[in-house]
Amino acid sequence: MSDKEPSKIKITKPERLFNLTCALLYTREGLTKNQILRSVPGYEGDYVEGGDNSSLERKFERDKGSLLHNGIQLEVTIPPHEDENNQVTVYSIKRESFYWPKNVKFTPRQMALLNLAAEAWAGGSLSTAANRGITKLRAMGAIGEDSDIVGIAPRIQASEPSFRDLNNAISDHQVVTFDYRKPQTGEIKTRTLQPWLLHKVAGQWLVMGFDVDQQDTRNFMLRRIVSKVKSVKTNAPFIPPTKEQIAEAIADLDALGEKQTATIKVEKDSEAWFRYELDLQGNGKSDEVTIHYHDLYVLAEELREYAGQVSVLRPEPLIQLVRAGFEKVANDHV
């Protein structure tokens, strides 16, 4: 390990990460940071025996992050009695956590569905993650083919800039803060959240999580977030929610949508008549329809679009809200 040639060929980052991965898979008892820097191509050419290797060490720290982002679980072992000393911390990758489970394969139809699922993110917030996932799955050799899955071009629309940052924070169990604008008052407040899940309810993207200030589960509409989503680095990763906690929070939200209703009157044979499927209801007499809603403001938006075709009968706040919106627009366009 002594007489090394100075490396003449530049080793690219992907090569370095790959060499690091192979080294960490190969090692039985794990490698210390110094062993890695001294022996893995991409570092070893620049390693100075007994000298200052601090920039190499930073490179290694960044590379650890890259491996994690690619879903590789680093096994970090700190020998007993030595907890703070990172010269003796050893790193390795366990085969069980690295490889796709044996005998879990996809049929050509399943692969075709997965291809289409990745395509649904095209140009969107998670397209990179979806494409890299598909690249790995293609290594199983299955080609996505199914005569039933033709002529479909799906696009999930998630244009809110906060979407990707929140999704990353969810994966990393990282507490976040953001400024949130209340539609009632227009008041903007900074919120602190342990984000659990992104979900779409009645056409709106919501982030569900544990509100640290309120000490309760809350949902925030992504389009009402008016700042960048920042992760709170000082906070340790939070303990992810259990399946039961998530199910309970979703049930609460569903119950809310079930409880809140509005009644509207619809012009016969108008576009709204079709939108609310009154032509399919089959009673032929009533031109009134009752709608369930989660958010009065979102419903008011939808109803404003059908101006001239619908009128709100109840509740009163919805009537006011729809009207106030038209008034504001009329005043804004003088």
Binding site: G141, I152, V310, K328
Partner: protein, 330 residues
């Protein structure tokens, strides 16, 4: 097959992992075959294979390596053998982000009636989470939207290569009975589902909203050669030459307008939250409902004709609200 965007470092590393896991299972592959399988360019495959061959654990006292046949590679073939113990030699797991992006995409697809049964989606999701390196539950949920039997008919027609006839409510609010459309592609766009279809009357590709469609049925007319050769645009709206350039300002609540309409240039920030952008509009009268919807979070800045159209729509709606009865549609 080289239509994928440029790969970055993480993509290349990811490709090396995937490619190694794939190559060690077989003997010899054509470069172009691998490029097709992984949907990257031939150059990316060659680069990745060379890089795999440079892997070197000699300083860890492991003289073994991946042996790349460089002569074969020159001729467009990939042959890798390996005697490197305990290194990448199988398919690699997904990261949580990768698994959850695919899982969310699957749920989104289930909004298309008849494409996949919910059990099938659930099974795929559970496979994905077992192959996720942390084995966690999905982090993004996309709830299926509304279902429509007409979609099943349209998908059937696309498979058979036949036209459909249907009743269709156009933008002016008129119901056209028995309209013939040659179906080409179903576009899911957020909550809305469109059919891109060839219209034999106008001889061009049009977007039809499925929720405005009723009583679709497959008819015994094959999809024409012109239709099959027609180019299908990704946009729902195709700008025309007589379009008006309209400048809009939006608050965060109305940012979705920037993705619904393709701005002609990058949106600019007017203040901390307000963005300004320009779009092409065929008929400024259509802006009324689009802008009013947001109740003040979106605003037309210019031209005057567009502002007037929006104002008129709002005032008309207010008049109707004071009468408390639905007025006449156009």
């Amino acid at each position: 097959m080289s239509d994928q965007l440029r790969l970055d470092d993480s993509d290349r590393y990811n490709l090396m992992l995937a490619l190694t896991g794939f190559l060690v299972q077989g003997d010899e592959y054509e470069v172009s075959e691998l490029a097709a399988q992984f949907e990257v360019s031939n150059e990316e495959i060659v680069k990745a294979v060379k890089n795999i061959g440079y892997t070197d654990l000699i300083h860890l006292n492991n003289p073994d390596r991946y042996v790349v046949d460089y002569d074969a590679l020159e001729e467009g073939y990939v042959r890798i053998s390996y005697n490197l113990a305990n290194v990448v030699d199988d398919v690699v797991r997904l990261s949580s982000r990768q698994a959850s992006a695919l899982a969310a995409g699957l749920v989104y697809l289930s909004s298309l009636p008849g494409l996949a049964e919910s059990e099938e989606i659930a099974e795929l999701q559970s496979i994905l989470s077992s192959g996720d390196s942390r084995g966690s539950s999905p982090e993004v949920i996309v709830k299926p939207g509304s279902k429509d039997a007409d979609l099943v008919t349209i998908r059937q027609a696309i498979k058979l290569g036949k036209a459909i006839s249907c009743d269709y409510l156009n933008l002016k609010g008129e119901m056209r009975l028995g309209r013939v459309i040659e179906p080409l592609r179903i576009d899911l766009r957020g909550e809305l589902i469109y059919l891109k279809g060839w219209c034999p009357e106008t001889q061009d590709v049009r977007s039809f909203r499925i929720d405005r469609m009723r009583a679709a049925q497959v008819i015994d007319t094959p999809i024409s050669a012109e239709a099959l050769e027609a180019e299908i645009d990704d946009d729902v709206y195709q700008p025309g030459e007589a379009d008006t350039l309209v400048t809009l300002e939006v608050e965060p609540e109305a940012y979705s307008l920037m993705s619904d309409f393709r701005p002609v240039e990058e949106p600019e920030s007017v203040s901390e939250y307000v963005k300004r952008f320009k779009i092409l509009v065929g008929d400024v009268r259509n802006l009324g409902r689009i802008v009013c919807r947001f109740g003040g979070a979106a605003k037309v800045v210019s031209p005057e004709s567009a502002k007037a159209a929006v104002r008129e729509f709002a005032l008309k709606a207010l008049g109707e609200y004071s009468n408390a009865a639905p007025g006449d549609a156009e």
